[in-house]
């Protein structure tokens, strides 16, 4: 059977303002760390093709504004997400404490089919800095308590673990996506495929 169609994975990055969401996304997509970003207002996204288990998938990574007053506004983009990445700054304990509410808010707003098994990934960013304030152990414990969420310690600045983390994100998102398809009724599937034909923006690729 051909499930060789092109897959689009929607990934949402959440976390307090300044933890490095935009930097991580840019490090992953553009392979560089730059100081030339504006603070994210509203929402923004980048796409990147990756290969997961011999399949080419397009990751569409949505970056959101982190300031508290914008929190409720990002929700429009949560729907249809395949994976949610929660980022905190290992030098700022408050950003770690916020993870819980980010996670809750996401589950409430995106209302995924199976909230207990929806794929999250936690990234503890800025490990290149000396003034670390959240220990890896503490972070890991929390992740374990939440249904064993995968945890990575990253540095967008020095490209530590970024690739690995996003590989995991893609894999887990893909698993979620595949599972979602199994649930789909037949007519929906047709609709999905129809959409996918249009989705090939470059048009060089057909669903065969």
């Amino acid at each position: 059977m051909s499930s060789r169609k092109k897959v689009l994975l929607k990934v949402i990055i959440l976390g307090d303002s300044g933890v490095g969401k935009t930097s991580l996304m840019n490090q992953f997509v553009n392979k560089k760390f730059s100081n030339q970003y504006k603070a994210t207002i509203g929402a923004d996204f980048l796409t990147k093709e990756v290969i997961v288990d011999d399949r080419i998938v397009t990751m569409q990574i949505w970056d959101t504004a982190g300031q508290e007053r914008f929190q409720s506004l990002g929700v429009a983009f949560y729907r249809g997400a395949d994976c949610c990445v929660l980022v905190f700054d290992v030098t700022a304990p408050n950003t770690f404490k916020s993870l819980e509410s980010w996670r809750d808010e996401f589950l409430i707003q995106a209302s995924p089919r199976d909230p207990d098994h929806f794929p999250f990934v936690i990234l503890g960013n800025k490990v290149d800095l000396d003034n670390r304030a959240v220990s890896a152990k503490r972070a890991q414990q929390w992740c374990q308590s939440k249904n064993d969420i995968p945890y990575f310690e990253t540095s967008a600045k020095e490209a530590v673990n970024v690739e690995l983390a996003f590989q995991t994100i893609a894999r887990n998102a893909l698993a979620q996506e595949t599972e979602a398809e199994l649930y789909n009724e037949f007519p929906d599937q047709i609709k999905l495929n129809a959409n996918d034909n249009n989705r090939n923006r470059d048009g060089d690729n057909c669903a065969c």
Partner: protein, 1114 residues
């Protein structure tokens, strides 16, 4: 003229019928108008003989099967009667078929006419002080059970559609409510709707309900018809609803301050009939339009206007238009839109003189006034009909001007503070960080500068330049970089603010930089993420200036503080403007041009997203459908609006949009946005998911270029060029400039503000409910109702700022009086004589931070504990509520004098003394009343006591009401109750059980036992551990029960020896522990059963809601 319906029998005698419908007849007296036969002459004679002179025209009402006719209108002229006839035909006739019987129709018509008469009579009465107004006001308060301070604004006669039947009655509009009352067919109809609950107001016109106003609330729709002044009524409703919404947004007190000053100013212009408050609102509205039109500071109050001409020297013409006078300005706007507009600040006025051009008597200059400014510019106004009055008025205003207070003040400020602050305001950063310009760009800029210099040579420079059509054209082409700072400030009106508040910026900076707060932290994090591509912000000079501007503004306007996006806007302002000017421009953007955009819930930006959606729907319907389907209509341009496009297109392009934005206002953003959507329409229509659509727009926006200015991005431009910014701006004016007017935007903003605020309130409520459900005490239904009751209760009171909430329910906080109202109505514990005291105890238990306020969760827990919790938990809560220091010695003291003897055996004797402590609580709470801002000073506890209080609350509730729900309750340290406290607890128990003899006896038995147990302890050499002071030790003995970070404090507390008291009360060592109390109480089966009983509070909630809920009684 409508007349009181009266029966007449002789329908045709002496009258001709002009028109007839099923229910109405229009008649003309013979001898008038057309028919001039003999009989008509006779009638005319008869009339004059009898000297009755009845009105020659009349309208009768009849039903087909009735012999009785009613006169309902008379008139002296045909025109007049035709108007009445027309009104009947349009408004009354279409509704009559909905009645079942003819009697009902007649009753309805008569009732309607009577109310019309009442309304008309009223319009003759002069003022709010008249008996009539007072009467109406009185009835309004009586009928709807309004609090005394609720102000009635206006009332109108109309029909309310209840089901399929119209009810004729009165519509009352007050500051917080709209109400309807009718009494017809022997039935009462009462309707009461809070403005804050209104989601939509619609004027509609359907066959069934012609010319109606529909009010939509969450509970349903309400339709009103047959309004005499529909437009006025509608406008007023809209204004009131918006005031209500604004209050929700700003979290301000629910009081609208009547602006007497403004009122007297405008009373000349406003029709006299409306109520005092209505006139005030009218005046406010007019003033708002005035400040909006001329970009004046919002506090400016319009004094009056006058038709006249303005002489424009550059084209040597008199231009007709209107002069506006207010306390600080003289303004003029031409009748022909955009022809010429002028603003003269009165502080610049040097001389005002009557100018009669030396007897030549040319009519064009009669009634002229020449105004000369201190900058030697003169402005000539002509054709003023009441010139003396205007001259007098202007000199009066001039006399009232403050005498350059600002200049003096600022002089001092500069002298004192420069030294320590050690900062100097920066000039426009572009002058410090010159970007390399190619020669062609240089040429273009120079050419533009030349054009502007020429233009300003004609129309003048600064605030009082003539704003002409030619000027607007130059703006659209893009202002030259060197003039941006100056012109932005002039066009936006921010220069006026700056002049009026000289020295303020410096003061704010000095204060802001020396303080530490959350806003400053957030600003710090964003300084390098503002305009990093510009060299000025790769350098501390620019960064520091940006920090100063943002921190100063956060201090100036705490309701906004700092909102991301402001950093981006401010950094561009700093490039072109001197620092202080940039600050005032930012203030003008935040407060006038983009109102509410950056507040804690970015309400304004959301409102404008709604406005944009509506505009898109009407202008680009197919695209709207598409974007809606992709689920992104609401979000697509949020960042465009918030950052004035700076974050989405190259900044050297966005500034061209800003040129027009400052000149023409927010409408420019809308028209540019619509144009961008329009241009990309075909592509967008083909996109299949949100990401693709966003990508199309991103590519387009990033490809916008400006070859008249230097691009700065150090990163190579990757995007493909799409459109020249000048072209885009021009297109936007051509395609949407006319369709999207400022008035239209203002109007739509009113409408969408209702929706957005409603939506925000709803989601706050939803989140609160979700959080409250986790306590698993009250069920969802009850919580929902409870929250409605809370909202109603809070409606009249100060709301807590929605900023920085640890949990959603913290947005609903009740003071003691509010808590009491609800608790007493709902809790089975607050039914007896002791109710007040129990309520006070429970309030203290729930007020976890001792700020005199309890959150919605505190209240729901309090009620849940008394109705749903297990017996043990309920008793524990009661016990803890009476433990020290929650029940402080201070509160006990006054009562103690009287207790001494009787106490030991009979706790009932306390009932009297109890009143006092509860009063003192109330007093201490009301003392705190306003001071909830500064919690630390209000706290009545010493640090040790605070820890103890915290421990007790943990013990009573499992978790303190401040902690987030869901976390497992830690084991609690049980404090022991000293005797006086215990006696209070007993009194409470007596009160709860007094209605049932077996229960009462059970309490008595338990009481005897407990008193004996307590007595056992009462031995001088007994272990200190159980003494009153040991509470702290008891609490400290269980450190695991407390937050780890509190550990330090706790250990300190127990390291100290218990505060030794010199004179020991003999009762000091008497004590009862929680275990003893629980064991004894629960041993009594009756009590165990009583405290396990599951009580539903739905009936009580219903009763409470009935009090103020929207109610329709038939």
């Amino acid at each position: 003229m409508w007349v009181k319906p009266q029966e007449v029998f002789l329908k045709t005698a002496l009258w001709d019928c002009d028109e007839t419908t099923l229910y109405f007849v229009l008649q003309r007296r013979k001898g008038h108008g057309k028919s001039k036969g003999l009989s008509s002459l006779l009638v005319g004679t008869l009339d004059s003989v009898r000297d009755t002179k009845p009105a020659p025209y009349r309208i009768l009402h009849q039903t087909p099967n009735s012999e009785i006719y009613y006169v309902i209108a008379t008139a002296l002229t045909e025109l007049e009667i035709k108007q009445d006839w027309q009104w009947l035909f349009e408004n009354v006739s279409p509704t009559l078929h909905s009645f079942d019987t003819e009697e009902e129709i007649t009753e309805f018509v008569c009732c309607k006419i009577n109310s019309l008469i009442a309304t008309e009579q009223e319009s003759f009465t002069e003022d709010e002080d008249t008996i009539n107004y007072k009467n109406v006001d009185y009835h309004f308060h009586q009928r709807f059970g309004m609090p005394k301070d609720e102000k009635l604004v206006c009332h109108y006669s109309c029909s309310y559609w209840k089901g399929k039947m119209p009810r004729q009655g009165w519509l009352y509009l007050s500051m917080h409510y709209m109400c309807f009352y009718s009494y017809i067919f022997g039935r009462n109809t009462t309707l009461k709707i809070r403005w804050a609950d209104v989601t939509e107001l619609v004027k509609s016109n359907s066959l069934l309900l012609p010319d109606s106003i529909t009010v939509v609330t969450r509970d349903g729709e309400h339709c009103f018809t047959m309004l005499l002044k529909k437009d006025e009524t509608f406008a007023l409703m809209q204004q009131l609803a918006n005031i209500a919404m604004k209050q929700l947004i700003d979290d301000k007190t629910g009081n609208y301050n009547i602006d007497k000053e403004l009122l007297t100013k405008l009373s000349k212009n406003v029709p006299k009939k409306a109520s005092f408050l209505k006139r005030d609102l009218d005046a406010k509205k007019q003033s708002n339009l005035y400040t909006l039109r001329f970009r004046l500071p919002q506090v400016e109050k319009l004094d009056g206007t006058e038709e006249c001409t303005l002489w424009t020297p550059y084209n040597k013409r008199h231009n007709w238009g209107r002069m506006y006078l207010s306390q600080n300005f003289i303004c003029f706007d031409s009748r022909v839109a955009n022809l010429v507009r002028l603003i003269i600040p009165l502080r610049n006025v040097y001389q005002v003189e009557k100018a009669d051009s030396g007897g030549t008597g040319s009519s064009g200059e009669s009634g002229s006034i020449l105004i000369t400014t201190s900058y030697h510019t003169s402005f000539l106004f002509g054709n003023i009909s009441d010139r003396d009055f205007i001259v007098h008025k202007i000199s009066e205003l001039l006399a009232k001007l403050p005498n350059d207070v600002f200049r003096e003040k600022s002089g001092k400020a500069v002298g004192g503070q420069r030294v320590e602050g050690a900062w100097t305001p920066q000039p426009p950063l572009m002058t410090l960080f010159k970007t390399h310009q190619t020669s062609s760009i240089k040429q273009i800029q120079q050419k533009k500068e030349k054009q502007w210099e020429d233009h300003m040579a004609e129309v003048g420079r600064g605030v009082s330049m003539y704003r002409t059509t030619e000027g607007s054209e130059l703006v659209v082409k893009g202002i030259p970089e060197s003039l941006r700072g100056e012109l932005w400030s002039v066009f936006s009106g921010s220069i006026l603010q700056k002049v009026q508040s000289k020295g303020l910026y410096e003061k704010l900076v000095n204060e802001a930089l020396s303080s530490k707060n959350q806003a400053n932290d957030e600003i710090e994090r964003d300084l390098h993420r503002s305009l990093p591509e510009h060299p000025a912000f790769q350098n501390d000079v620019g960064i520091s200036a940006l920090r100063r501007v943002l921190c100063a503004y956060a201090l100036k306007n705490p309701t906004i503080g700092y909102c991301q996006a402001m950093n981006i806007v401010a950094s561009v302002l700093l490039i072109y403007c001197p620092e202080e000017q940039a600050f005032w421009l930012l203030a003008t953007i935040c407060e006038t041009l983009l109102p509410d955009y950056y507040n804690t819930r970015v309400v304004g930006a959301l409102v404008d997203q709604g406005v944009l959606e509506e505009l898109t729907k009407s202008q680009l319907p197919d695209l709207h459908a598409k974007l809606d389907e992709l689920g992104m209509m609401k979000m697509i341009s949020l960042s465009w609006f918030l950052t004035l496009f700076i974050s989405v297109m190259p900044y050297e392009c966005a500034v061209n949009v800003m040129d027009c934005f400052f000149y023409d206002g927010a409408k420019v953003i809308f028209q540019v946005t619509l144009t961008i959507l329009d241009v990309n329409k075909e592509k967008l229509l083909k996109s299949t998911e949100d990401g693709q659509a966003v990508q199309i727009l991103t590519d387009y926006l990033e490809g916008i270029f400006n070859d008249e200015a230097m691009a700065l991005s150090t990163e190579p431009r990757t995007a493909q060029k799409t459109i020249k910014i000048q072209e885009l701006v021009y297109q936007s004016y051509r395609m949407y400039g006319a369709n999207v007017s400022s008035e239209c935007i203002e109007h739509l903003r009113l409408k969408h503000r209702l929706r957005v605020v409603r939506h925000l309130e709803d989601s706050l409520e939803k989140n609160t409910l979700r959080a409250l459900q986790q306590d698993k005490l009250l069920d969802a239904n009850e919580l929902q109702e409870l929250l409605s009751v809370i909202r109603e209760e809070l409606f009249w009171a100060k709301r807590v700022p929605a900023e920085r909430l640890e949990a959603p329910y913290e947005a609903y906080r009740l003071d003691y009086a509010q808590f009491k109202t609800i608790y007493v109505a709902l809790s089975p514990w607050a039914k007896g004589d002791y109710a007040e005291a129990i309520t006070a105890r429970i309030f203290k238990l729930m007020d976890h931070d001792d700020d005199g306020l309890v959150s919605a969760r505190g209240l729901s827990l309090a009620i849940g504990l008394s109705t749903r919790a297990e017996a043990q938990k309920r008793l524990r809560a009661l016990y803890c509520a009476h433990a020290p220091p929650l029940l402080s010695n201070l509160e006990l003291r006054s009562a103690q004098l009287t207790e001494v003897e009787e106490l030991a055996d009979d706790a009932i004797s306390f009932f009297d003394s109890i009143q006092r402590p509860s009063e003192s609580i109330q007093k201490s709470i009301s003392d705190m009343g306003d001071g909830q801002i500064d919690k630390s000073t209000d706290s009545t506890y010493s640090p040790d006591e605070a820890i103890a209080a915290e421990a007790i609350r943990v013990c009573a509730l499992g978790v303190p009401p401040g902690a987030s729900p869901g976390t497992p309750p830690p084991p609690s340290p049980p404090p022991a109750l000293p005797r006086p406290h215990f006696l209070r607890l007993l009194a409470a128990l007596h009160d709860l059980t007094q209605y049932s003899t077996p229960l009462y006896e059970a309490v008595a038995r338990a009481e005897t036992l407990l008193l004996q147990l307590g007595e056992l302890r009462h031995r001088p050499n007994l272990d200190r551990e159980m003494s009153q002071d040991s509470l702290y030790l008891a609490a400290a003995a269980q450190p695991s029960a407390l937050e780890p970070d509190r550990n330090g404090n706790l250990e300190e507390a127990c390291a100290q020896p218990s505060p030794s008291k010199d004179e020991k009360d003999p009762t000091e060592d008497w004590s009862i522990t929680l275990e003893q109390f629980l064991a004894t109480m629960l041993a009594e089966a009756a009590l165990e059963e009583f405290f396990s009983k599951q009580v539903s509070i739905l009936p009580q909630l219903e009763a409470l809601r009935q009090r103020d809920r929207l109610q329709s009684v038939s």
